[in-house]
Subunit: 410 residues, 2 copies
């Protein structure tokens, strides 16, 4: 089944909102065995909307349209679908009654212009929307399907999951696509490419290598007539990749470094404290994004200035001797964090977040220290793509260092 | 000038990455007087890419294409443009030499397949890309313009700002759209709507009200044949909105609360320290996203557990008497942060980030304390849409409280 997504809304074309609906829908189609060939964004303009729907109806089996189902004159999706199919909208009495009841239950008068949200055409049935006033349309004609859903994601996404995906799952006849992503750290993209070059020639599953902010990902994707068969294709290749990259793989699929590290800390009943300079609180913030992190994360300290570091237990002589941006200070910060918080593990970060240099060192100069049960390690690098990216990278490197310690890789 | 954006990449159609380039480009066009009618996403498939470019070339004056300029066989944007225009690519010797030099300077061998990044066609000139290996293409033919830029945003965005936007500014002939956004805090969307309802009936400038995570925005947009004329239309309406919403407006356009607060702290030579519980480091991290924040941000403490708070100076009796999730503890944390860091101002946050309740209090229970030169204020609320949103909202409320204190609104 060949699908096409159309997002409707002038505010997307003005760059005022990001069209996140298309990405959501696109990510849901491979597992249904539906191939997506095009995404189009078009404004609240009848002619261009009709033209876009008409073209999609000619070249695709399934049209997923989001937006343009509101009650105003600018909301033209129903009108455009009706025009493309040559059908006339009518007010569905059951839908109209439900809509009137909804307004009454909220103690609001019913605005007559909302009545167009009760429209149907002969080829359409309504898709219930318990979270808003606009039902969707499920349209079937000439062997093709058009699904129209409202634009607000908190209405659209549950309608997709509860109503549309189950119906499409029954219809889609094609091969399903199943993917497995293996996430690594400590190897470059080129290295991984080289280590897996023979496997990358396979066409089912395919193997692709991506560089991401938290390491290099290896993505396996298999197509087959059923999920089980697809997994059978993936399993031996995944096994082989794991053999080759083993010690570098820190997680799979949706896992995050902070989630994996948190699980390891919990399992081993270890506690953690951090002292941050150039990462400015992002390390603590990333660690505490994980639900339940309060059980192992004892304390975070953000100490930009030397005096603040000294007040938290960093030896002023170390700063004097090596400069505040140095591996020695990163180590001292890790140690001070651990001791001050009474934790098993401490992490320290010192560097130059930029944009200006510090102590004559360029932005991107970065030192991470780890005090793991009294054993101290540091890692240093220089890389700069802006202040926020520098903070982000510092956090990834710090979490990766901790992960390596927790898994005996240091 | 009628424009159309084409984003190229199978990973977008698979829902693996969000196409943020289109939103970036779309947001830049109104100020140039360029109307955007369509955005299309198409995969790394020669036929469909060619078909999409051909259609766009027929119906639009300006095509902005991102992605597909890499060195691999999957990168087909150059080939597709050449095919649509009926031209043959050739290796530009100057580009090839620059590319070889780039690899040499990085100490890498030059892979011959990268040579296609030195291609041009007769209608194209190269757009320099100082941050990557793929130059862009500026193509002019039959009165139409095609601009092809690489997909990575950190390469594409500066190329747009430095090379493409200036050239288009000279070409575009239409009405320009100028906008002014006034950012407020402390009023609901409905309230603002009501206070400005008469102004909202104006058609040039238009006035729109949006609820955002950091308050309610009022957006004025004027169209005219020149920027000066458009600003003349906006000015009196902006003045009127400022009259009505005055004390609630904290910033305009791209300003952030942390940036505005940072500027005020710097101007008044005041220093700040924070102690965070449920915001988990996000407050410190947000404050330190601002370049130069090291001059006023003295220290951040992340203290989840009662013992950590006590170790940092919170009176255990206050915790015992009121519970750790209480306005009193928020105030004590603010005071302890200020005193411990020797700062003028301290902020404390305590609450339930969730998903689980704490001390019998539901997720979203939030208390923010402010110690402003010894004067203590707290603010409390309960609102929950998930852990990360709870942290985010706590930070906004804390910064808004500080902003009100700094501007004499408390």
């Amino acid at each position: 089944m060949r699908a096409e997504i159309i997002s409707v809304g002038t505010e997307i074309l003005l760059g005022e909102i990001q069209d996140t609906n298309s990405c959501f829908l696109a990510s849901r189609l491979p597992a249904l065995g539906i191939d997506l060939y095009f995404i189009s964004v078009v404004g609240d303009n009848f002619d261009r909307l009709q033209q876009t729907i008409k073209q999609a109806f000619q070249r695709s089996d399934l049209l997923l349209i989001t937006g343009g189902l509101g009650p105003t004159d600018d909301d033209l999706t129903r009108e455009a679908i009706a025009a493309v199919l040559g059908e006339r909208p009518y007010v569905d009495e059951a839908l109209a009654q439900a809509l009137r009841n909804l307004f009454t239950s909220r103690g609001l008068p019913f605005p007559e212009r909302n009545l167009k949200q009760a429209w149907l055409i002969p080829s359409a049935t309504a898709i219930p929307n318990p979270r808003g006033t606009a039902p969707g349309w499920w349209v079937e004609k000439e062997g093709r399907i058009i699904v129209a859903l409202p634009g607000p994601p908190h209405e659209m996404e549950p309608m997709w999951e509860e109503e549309v995906a189950p119906r499409l799952r029954k219809r889609a006849q094609g091969q399903v696509l199943v993917t497995r992503t293996l996430k690594t750290i400590g190897l470059g993209e080129g290295q991984v490419d080289e280590m897996l070059s023979d496997l990358a020639r396979s066409s089912n599953p395919t193997l692709a290598v991506y560089a991401k902010p938290d390491g290099v990902y290896v993505r396996l994707a298999a197509k087959a007539m059923g999920e089980g068969i697809a997994w059978d294709l993936i399993r031996p290749v995944e096994e082989e990749v794991r053999q080759r990259l083993g010690p570098h793989i820190w997680g799979v699929d949706d896992e995050s470094l902070e989630g994996v590290v948190g699980r390891l800390l919990k399992e081993r009943a270890l506690t953690l404290a951090v002292m941050e300079s150039f990462t400015g609180g992002l390390l603590a913030n990333t660690i505490t994004d994980v639900p339940g992190s309060s059980t192992y994360f004892l304390a975070g300290y953000v100490a930009y200035q030397p005096e603040a570091k000294i007040a938290l237990g960093v030896d002023p002589k170390v700063i004097e001797m090596h400069g505040v941006v140095s591996p020695e200070v990163a180590a001292a910060m890790a140690q001070a964090a651990r001791q001050r918080a009474g934790a098993h593990i401490g992490i320290g970060t010192t560097g130059v977040a930029g944009p200006d240099p510090l102590e004559g060192k360029p932005p991107g100069t970065s030192h991470i220290g780890l005090d793991f049960l009294g054993n101290i390690r540091t890692t240093s690098y220089q890389f700069y793509q802006g202040r926020l990216a520098a903070k982000r990278r510092g956090v990834t490197v710090a979490l990766a260092l901790l992960w390596r310690a927790l898994t005996g890789r240091l």
